[in-house]
Point group: C2
Amino acid sequence: MSFYLIVREMKKLLHSLDGCLDKATAHAAAKKYDAEVLLQSRLAPDMLPLVFQIQTACDSAKYAASRVTGKDAPSHPDTEKTIADVRKRIASTTDYLDTYKAADFDGIEGRTVSLPRWEGKSMAAADYLIEQAMPNFFFHVTTSYAILRHNGVDIGKRDYLGPINYR
Amino acid sequence: MSFYLIVREMKKLLHSLDGCLDKATAHAAAKKYDAEVLLQSRLAPDMLPLVFQIQTACDSAKYAASRVTGKDAPSHPDTEKTIADVRKRIASTTDYLDTYKAADFDGIEGRTVSLPRWEGKSMAAADYLIEQAMPNFFFHVTTSYAILRHNGVDIGKRDYLGPINYR
């Protein structure tokens, strides 16, 4: 298997998340509330709000590709204020992920990832993908979904999973 | 890469989920409420409750191993009523996953998965793992976490991610 399959699935779920935000905008219009309220919503007072969940989901996917393969990634300074902004952030991320193919992940078993905040520690690139980027990505996508669901947006698990590749 | 790495990570996150339930029990004792109330909690009235989220997370992991490799899986009839019950369900699932090793996933690219409810359709085993079992697993684990978090249980993302394999 190529590790690329995980990144491809992340790209798919970011498209799903964009679809959930489209439904959120429709929900706000139907109920006559300001859709941007959702971006500051959370499930607990000490939880980070939806805008952060989406930014972090995007970054988890971006870094799953760039840090694991050693390629450059576009900068995203987390300045999004509106649903239109976060949808652009998602589009920018999926456009970036579109530049990857399976062969980019060949030989990552020999690579390591190190971040300044790890203070000299490093991780095998494969461990970084499997133990950090992957669970973080799904955590923040699902938390985004949960915040929208909790606020009454009409989404179900199919909106999360997206189309399934049956034969 | 071996697909086994995904199943290994699922096993780790099931242990994390068990730890979150331990904290939930402690929270209930400190606040003097019946911990079993949590198992029927949800984030929206038309969402399935925590007990279902945990059962489904366990099954997603079990089937990520068994259906993908073509091996037998233990039966779990979803009869859990208490936190002690769901913790046993988690333990039974991780015990089962402990019987797998990377070599069990060799050659799954040639396999297919088919379920009665798919009405004759099938999936490549690798697609089943990546597009169904993996996103479903993380969805239900994170939703379980979110329900506990929403109800005030003292958990953070480290309780979800578990120990990280730094060098």
